[in-house]
C-alpha cells in the first residue's frame, strides 16, 4: 500500500469546504440511478434467469414450432398466429414475467443489506429515501426492456409466421369473412359446417347421414336423408349462430391487441418489481420475499380472483392480480386456465370489479409498497 496523498503534501491542509449538493433531498440523482442499474446488470444469475424466462423460453418454443412446421407442415401448424400469441402471453410472459420481475425487485431491495453496502451508503449522508427511490427506475430500466424484447419476439413470429387460412372448430376456412360471406361459405360446405360447428338453438335442422349432429336437445328434421337445400339452410342457421365466435378468431393478432397486451405486460412486470422491492426492503432479505411473491402470484391471486368468499368480497377486490385481470385486453384468454383460443369460457368468471376500482387498486399497490419499502429503509438500523 502506498501512502501517496490525494493532494500534494505541501504542508497545507487539503481539506476543502463541505459540498452543497443537496444530498438530503429525497430525489435520486441520475448517477445514483445508473450505478444501481450497473449493480443489477452485473448479477449474472439474475440476468440469465430474466433472459431465459422472458426471451429464451418463448424463443425456444417458437423455434421448435418453426422447424416442425417446416419439416412436416401437414402434421404441425404454423409457428405463429393468434392462438399461439394468446397462449404465450397468458402462460409464459404474464405469469413467469411477473415472477422474474419480482425476483429482480426482491434482489434490488435486499442486496445492499445482505452485501453490507447499506452502511457505506448511509454514511455518505445521502437521503435514504433517495437511495431507495433510485432503485425503482434502475430496476425497471433493467426489467422492462427484456420483457419488451421477449414480447416483440413473440409478436414478430406470431405475425410473420401466422397461418394463411383460418381454422374454426376444426374446419379450415377463409379468414375475415363478413356475416353474409360466412353464410355463403357455410351454404357451400354444409357437411363440414353441420358435422363440426356447434349449435344450441331451437330451430329444427337437417343433418347429413354421415355425422351425428351437435347432440343435446337439438331437433333433427325427419328420418329420411335430407335434401341438399335443407342441408344448406341448416348450415346457414349454424353459421348465423357461430358468426360471433368465428369473428373473434384471427389469423394473427391485431396491432391494437399487441400494443394493449404489451403495455399490460409491462405494467404487470412493473408491479412485480415494485412490490418485490418494497417487500424485500421491509423484510430485509430476499428468499422469503421471493417465496411470498410466488405464493401471491400462483396461489392467492387465482383463488381470490375466482372464488367469491362471502364477507370478503371487498378484500378480494383489493388483490392486484384481480385488478390486472380486469384490465386485461379482452381478446386474450383469462390467465390461469383460460381458453387458449381466446374468449372467456363459461363458468370462468372473475370476482366483479369496475375498471375504475381496478386502476385504483393497481395504483394503491404501487404507492403502498413504495412507501412501505422507503419507510423501512429510513427507519432501519444500518
Amino acid at each position: 500500500m502506498t501512502t501517496t496523498p490525494i493532494a500534494p503534501p505541501d504542508g497545507t491542509s487539503v481539506v476543502t469546504a463541505a459540498p452543497t449538493d443537496h444530498r438530503g433531498s429525497w430525489l435520486p440523482t441520475l448517477s445514483l440511478i445508473t450505478t444501481r442499474m450497473m449493480e443489477l446488470r452485473r448479477r449474472r444469475g439474475l440476468m440469465i434467469a430474466l433472459l431465459v424466462v422472458n426471451i429464451g423460453i418463448p424463443a425456444t418454443f417458437l423455434i421448435v414450432r418453426l422447424v416442425a412446421h417446416a419439416v412436416a407442415p401437414r402434421s404441425y401448424g404454423p409457428a405463429g398466429g393468434y392462438s399461439v400469441f394468446t397462449g404465450l402471453v397468458a402462460v409464459i410472459l404474464y405469469v413467469f414475467g411477473f415472477i422474474v420481475a419480482a425476483v429482480v425487485g426482491c434482489s434490488a431491495g435486499s442486496t445492499d443489506l445482505t452485501d453490507g453496502m447499506f452502511r457505506h451508503l448511509v454514511v455518505t449522508g445521502r437521503s435514504r429515501v433517495a437511495l431507495y427511490l433510485a432503485r425503482i427506475p434502475a430496476g425497471l430500466a433493467v426489467v422492462l426492456p427484456i420483457v419488451a424484447a421477449g414480447f416483440i419476439l413473440v409478436c414478430a413470429v406470431c405475425v410473420f409466421a401466422a397461418p394463411t387460412k383460418d381454422s374454426y372448430s376444426g374446419v379450415t376456412l377463409p379468414a375475415g369473412l363478413t356475416l353474409s360471406g360466412f353464410e355463403q361459405w357455410a351454404a357451400a360446405h354444409p357437411d363440414e359446417v353441420l358435422c363440426n360447428f356447434g349449435y344450441s338453438g331451437n330451430a329444427a335442422i337437417s343433418m347429413p347421414s354421415n355425422c351425428t349432429g351437435p347432440g343435446g336437445s337439438v331437433q333433427i328434421k325427419g328420418s329420411s336423408p335430407p335434401t341438399a337445400a335443407a342441408l344448406r339452410a341448416s348450415a346457414i342457421v349454424f353459421a348465423q349462430q357461430d358468426y360471433q365466435s368465428y369473428s373473434n378468431t384471427f389469423l394473427k393478432p391485431a396491432n391494437s391487441l399487441m400494443i394493449a397486451t404489451g403495455l399490460w405486460l409491462l405494467l404487470e412486470a412493473t408491479i412485480g418489481f415494485v412490490v418485490g422491492l418494497g417487500l424485500s426492503s421491509l423484510l430485509g432479505q430476499r428468499t422469503i420475499a421471493v417465496v411470498l411473491m410466488i405464493v401471491l402470484e400462483i396461489i392467492l391471486t387465482p383463488i381470490f380472483s375466482r372464488s367469491r368468499i362471502p364477507h370478503l368480497i371487498n378484500f378480494q377486490r383489493g388483490f392486484v392480480g384481480l385488478a390486472m385481470a380486469h384490465i386485461e385486453p379482452p381478446a386474450l384468454p383469462l390467465v390461469f386456465g383460460g381458453d387458449m383460443n381466446g374468449g372467456r369460457p363459461r363458468g370462468l368468471q372473475l370476482v366483479p370489479e369496475s375498471t375504475e376500482v381496478a386502476i385504483i387498486v393497481i395504483v394503491a399497490w404501487l404507492v403502498f409498497w413504495t412507501v412501505i419499502g422507503g419507510w423501512r429503509m429510513v427507519t432501519r438500523d444500518a
Partner: protein, 325 residues
C-alpha cells in the same frame, strides 16, 4: 428520545468548531442493555484519536450512533460542528467511515463499488476514485471482483471509500484487522499522513500498541462509559509507577517496603524485586524507596522505573482487572 441539537459554530457550521466530535450524555439502549451510557466525548480537530475498550464495551455502537446508523435514546452530539441528527446530512458530507468489517458487493469490482458510493456523494467524488485507489495501493486490483479480495484488501477498499468524500473526519473501526505487519505499518503511515493533511482520524481498535504509535489522544470506554480521555502522554503520566530493584537481600527488602506507607505492591521476581506504586505516585516516592532500602543496610545495585505502556495502563483502568473503575 430526548436528543437536542448542539449549536454549530458562529462563523458557519463545520468550519471553526474546536471539536471534530462532541457528545454529551449520549445514551443508547438495546432493551435492558445500556450499550452507550451517558458518554461525554470530545475529539479535537486535526489529530489521530484512539477509541479503546474491551470487547462489548460499546465502541462500535457509539460509532453507529454518531454516524446516524442507529438512533440515540438520549443526549446531544455534533460532528464537525454540525448538530446530529438535525444536520446529519451536512455533517456526513465530510465524514468517511468504516464500521465493523468493510463489506461490498462481491460480484462487482473494487472500482465499481467505489462508483456506487461516489454516486451517493457530490459530483467531485467520482474524480477521486482513481487517486483513492492509488493511495491505498489497490490500483492494480481495482478491476478484480471484490469476492476475490482478501480481508486486508477489503480493509483498504474501505479506506478508499472513506476518501471519496475528501473527509475532514475519518472514523475507522478496527482498520488494522486482517492486515499483515507490513500492511499495518502502511495503514499507520497513511493515518498519520491523513492527520498531517489536517484531517481528524478517530480510530477504534483493540491493538493498543498500534494505537499508541498512531494516536495523539485516546478515550477508554468500558461498559458503555468513557472512563478516561486525553492525550496519551497525559494519561500515562497518571498511570501507576513500576520499579525494578536489584539489591543484596530481596526478601528483607520486600518486608521493608511492605511496611512503609508508600502503598507499594511488592513481589520477588526473576529479575529481582518488582514494586508497583499506586496511581498518581510522584517521582519523590522512587527516591523514598531507595532511601529506605539504603538506610536498612541493603545494597541497591539497580533501581529502574519501568515506562508504563498504553496496554498496561489500559488493563489497569478497564474492567478486565476487576472492574474497580
Amino acid at each position: 428520545m430526548t436528543i437536542t441539537a448542539t449549536s454549530p459554530g458562529t462563523d458557519g457550521p463545520g468550519v471553526d468548531q474546536q471539536w471534530a466530535v462532541e457528545t454529551h450524555g449520549l445514551v443508547k439502549r438495546f432493551g435492558d442493555n445500556v450499550a452507550v451510557n451517558g458518554v461525554e466525548l470530545l475529539v479535537p480537530r486535526g489529530c489521530a484519536f484512539g477509541y479503546l475498550g474491551p470487547n462489548g464495551a460499546g465502541k462500535t455502537t457509539l460509532i453507529r450512533v454518531l454516524l446516524g446508523l442507529t438512533r440515540a435514546d438520549a443526549g446531544t452530539m455534533s460532528l464537525l460542528g454540525y448538530p446530529v441528527p438535525k444536520q446529519r446530512d451536512d455533517a456526513l458530507a465530510r465524514v468517511g467511515a468504516i464500521v465493523d468489517e468493510p463489506r461490498f458487493h462481491g460480484h462487482l469490482t473494487g472500482r465499481q463499488n467505489l462508483q456506487i458510493l461516489a454516486a451517493a456523494r457530490e459530483r467531485a467524488a467520482r474524480d477521486r476514485i482513481a487517486p483513492a485507489l492509488e493511495r491505498v495501493g489497490l490500483q492494480h486490483r481495482a478491476n478484480d471482483k471484490v469476492s476475490k479480495y482478501s480481508m486486508g484488501m477489503r480493509q483498504r477498499l474501505g479506506v478508499a471509500a472513506c476518501l471519496l468524500g475528501d473527509p475532514q473526519l475519518l472514523i475507522l473501526d478496527e482498520p488494522m484487522n486482517g492486515l499483515d505487519p507490513a500492511g499495518m505499518r502502511e495503514m499507520r503511515d497513511m493515518i498519520l499522513s491523513l492527520v498531517a493533511e489536517g484531517r481528524t482520524v478517530v480510530l477504534s481498535s483493540h491493538l493498543l500498541d498500534e494505537v499508541e504509535r498512531t494516536c495523539d489522544a485516546v478515550a477508554i470506554v468500558d461498559r458503555g462509559n468513557v472512563i478516561r480521555q486525553g492525550s496519551i502522554a497525559e494519561l500515562l503520566a497518571g498511570a501507576s509507577v513500576e520499579l525494578q530493584i536489584e539489591c543484596s537481600e530481596p526478601d528483607r527488602a520486600r518486608g521493608i517496603l511492605d511496611a512503609t506507607r508508600l502503598g507499594a505492591e511488592v513481589a520477588v521476581g526473576p529479575n529481582g524485586l518488582e514494586a508497583k506504586l499506586p496511581l498518581g505516585t510522584g517521582r519523590e516516592a522512587i527516591a523514598e524507596v531507595n532511601r529506605q532500602l539504603v538506610e536498612a543496610g541493603i545494597s541497591v545495585y539497580r533501581l529502574q522505573e519501568v515506562q508504563a505502556s498504553l496496554e498496561s495502563w489500559f488493563l489497569q483502568v478497564t474492567s478486565r482487572l476487576g472492574g474497580s473503575e
